[in-house]
């Protein structure tokens, strides 16, 4: 394991500072893009073109009063957003942003990432329950059941790149990805993308926080900086999920030119984000029972098919995949 | 069936019905308050060939005459006709039979009338606070005896 500049990697890039600023500017980027789609202008007063708007929002959240319902379980309500925030960081530590730009690299990083992701639903349920409000509770239940149901196709479809690249390490998967797995196995990419949306609670799967039904779902009763943490956690999960998609299906840092890996990675990430923003602007949301049915009847069978397809490819072109 | 025939049908079949007037396509008929249930059943059962709705139920307060009027309006869509039934309720007997089991639409209208005028609807399942705030509830503000208090000094 390469430990040069480990402090810089953990603290600056691709570690804490990068993710924090990434979240802030992801929010800005999202607000601007969606405003354009809506025919609005978006933030424009704080800083040049509104560049400091999200930072100002963060400052405001920091100094806001904390308001909690009487019935809330305070300890859980205080700690869960922070735990969620920290937990959301972990998958990012194993993402190879460039050939040398990663925090940790070991042989089973793919499994590590998914073990962490699997813990998220319990935290949203805990938060929903500890809020002491019925809207939060219903939102928490919805979040947990949606995420647990979509974990299955998510993990199954993530096996496909592992099979094709013959490795469980994200670094090896990237290196062995001469042709994008998106092209080789589009079914798996589709299933992974949809399940990832459901895990991130993005439209059209924003059911746990459906505004017109549940106010803000399991985040309803959070206030001040705790709300800020939960929002940050949401965006960190979004960065993590889309980064995993880039690594697993879009060739990661592979691209023409020497030492341009990080740039290629970022461009691919930005492409995914644009798609996510556009979906948020124009898609309505599904109903709970509809997506549960979708997961069991469509996504899980499709992910099994995609595994079969990968194994078939492996047997059909053994020479192509032997370079591993 | 035109407006005239419709009027005739009601006058022939409802015992206490008295014709008042016809305005354009609107018939005004006065009936005794015991008959309102008969009328509602009659309209529900006798007009199979036409779509009809209970458009509104409301009351008017007449403190000078010591009575209240209630008006029930049915709209016969295909006849292009409206029929208003007028019922007089004396002050000492502000009670009328509820028609909400025949016409569900009457439920809220009667509830509003009960709250605003204090007319009791016998057989109505859900007479409780509806539109009014706590401080106005029970004062029957649509009655003429309720004056709107406007005090500019207080408003400051």
């Amino acid at each position: 394991m390469n430990t040069d500049f480990l402090f810089i990697k953990v603290a600056v890039f691709p570690g804490v500072l990068f993710v924090l600023f990434g979240c802030l500017y992801l929010m800005y980027f999202e607000r601007k893009t969606i405003a354009r789609i809506h025919g609005r202008i978006g933030p424009q007063y704080v800083g040049y073109g509104g560049l400091l708007q999200t930072i100002a929002d963060l400052m405001k959240l920091m100094f806001k009063e904390w308001i909690f319902p009487k019935t809330a379980k305070k300890a859980a309500l205080f700690l869960t957003p922070i735990a969620l925030f920290l937990l959301a960081f972990l998958p990012l530590s194993v993402v190879p942003w460039g050939e040398n730009w990663y925090v940790a690299d070991f042989s089973v990083t793919l499994i590590f990432a998914f073990v962490v992701i699997a813990a998220i639903p319990f935290l949203s349920l805990l938060l929903g329950w500890s809020s002491g409000s019925k809207y939060s509770l219903i939102g928490g239940y919805r979040a947990a059941s949606q995420q647990i149901v979509f974990e299955v196709p998510l993990f199954l479809s993530a096996l496909t790149p592992a099979i094709l690249a013959n490795s469980l390490s994200l670094m090896d998967i990237t290196k062995n990805q001469k042709i994008w797995f998106l092209v080789l196995n589009p079914i798996a990419a589709f299933v992974f993308f949809v399940s990832m949306l459901a895990m991130m609670e993005r439209q059209p799967f924003d059911i746990p926080e459906a505004e017109s039904e549940l106010v803000f779902g399991w985040k309803t009763e959070l206030s001040g900086i705790f709300f800020g943490w939960s929002i940050f956690a949401g965006y960190t999960i979004m960065i993590g999920g889309s980064a995993l998609f880039v690594v697993l299906f879009m060739g990661g840092f592979n691209g023409p030119g020497n030492n341009l890996g990080v740039l290629w990675f970022m461009l691919k990430l930005a492409l995914i984000w644009l798609i996510l923003f556009a979906m948020r602007a124009v898609l309505p949301r599904y109903r709970m029972d509809q997506i549960l049915r979708m997961s069991w009847r469509l996504m899980i069978p499709l992910s099994l098919v995609s595994i079969g397809l990968s194994i078939g490819l492996l047997f059909a072109f053994p020479n192509f995949f032997r370079g591993v | 069936m035109n407006v005239e025939e419709l009027k005739k049908k009601f006058l022939d079949n409802i015992k206490t019905a008295q014709e008042e007037k016809i305005q354009d396509n609107q018939i005004f008929i006065k009936i005794d308050k015991e008959d309102i249930k008969t009328v509602s059943k009659f309209i529900k059962e006798q007009f199979d060939d036409v779509n009809k709705i209970l458009e509104q139920v409301f009351a008017i307060d007449f403190p000078d005459r010591n009575e209240m009027e209630m008006i029930y309006t049915w709209w016969f869509i295909e006849y292009h006709a409206l029929v208003h039934f007028r019922v007089i309720l004396p002050y000492d007997d502000l009670k009328v039979v509820s028609i909400q089991d025949d016409w569900v639409a009457a439920n809220w209208h009667e509830r509003e009338t009960w709250e605003m005028f204090g007319i009791d609807f016998e057989g109505h399942p859900n007479l409780k606070q509806f539109l009014l705030s706590d401080e106005l509830f029970g004062k029957h503000p649509m009655r003429k005896s309720f004056k709107i208090e406007h005090n500019p000094e207080e408003a400051k």
Partner: protein, 371 residues
Amino acid sequence: MTENKERSSSLVSFSYGPQHPGTHPYSLLLTVDGDRIEKVEAQIGYVHRGLAKQAESRTFIQALPIMERSCFIDSVNHQFGYVMAVEKLAGIEVPERAEYLRVIAAELSRMNSLISWFGGYAAETGINSAFMWAWKDREMFLDLFGHLAGSRVSVMYLTIGGVRWDWNDKLTNLTWEIIDYMEERLKIHKKLVMKNSIFKKRTKGVGVVSKEKALEYAFTGPNLRASGVQGDIRILEPYSVYDHFKFTPKVMTEGDNWARTMIRLHDIETSMEILKQALPEIPEGEYKTKVPLKLRANAGEAYARVELSRGVMGYYIRTVEDKSTKPYRVKIRGPSFSHFQIVEDILVGTHMADIPIIKGSLDVCPADLDR
């Protein structure tokens, strides 16, 4: 017995509204079993202003602006019914030019109301773009009302005996512009919302109101037409000059959210048809009859109805003394009052997530609900 006990313990009841982004100021007391709704009780009255009582202490003309407040979004049509009732009572003739101008303003107001509803409804299903786009379209109407009467939202264009301001060529051009613009925009709206498969999944077959139920609950307007009954009084009992124009409001039989949405979009097209026929034919002449400021009416009663963008609006006005300057009793019959009552019935057995979609499709205006 034990089963019952278990069942009742899984029920959760809470109040949906009035402080809730998905409701206007009204609340639904819900009892839910998981995601299924077991019982609904509507609580309204949060914006009750007693418009009818207020009108009793004002003269006929002073009561005009109040009548508009019964729901701001379709303001011209709300006044339309009131002025017709007063004119009927006082026996005032309205010049034909004024009638045409009234119809034009009423149709513009109807389009404004429908497109605003469409945007709000799309936002309730989650399509935020459609909301922004529709409310951007609404600006066109508000600007036109600004030119027409000086105020954008509460238009106050109609008055007893005619309209308050005359029409001019600039307004004609602006109206034609709106018609052209809306024809394009409607295509875009349909592409964005009505062709979306998720939107179809959320609305088709959801919130079905059968024809019998619609009649029982006194549905009118688009909601009634979505359940298969032609109940548009603009063609059934034409008031004003609606009998001069050819148009056919759409009737569908499904009675679900989808049908109600389609009918409302089609209503915008119907309004454009009427405007296209009315604009070239505005007759010359007076735009209002002179009416004394202290209008007096003899003892009597009048009931006039208009087709709102939501349904039938009725105004009953009663006077008891000859030469009275104030109405003795005004009854405002709002369509939303009848429409909203059905939520206690059709929401039972549906999912939590269907609540905003179903009650949104009924196009209930809380201001009109409480009056």
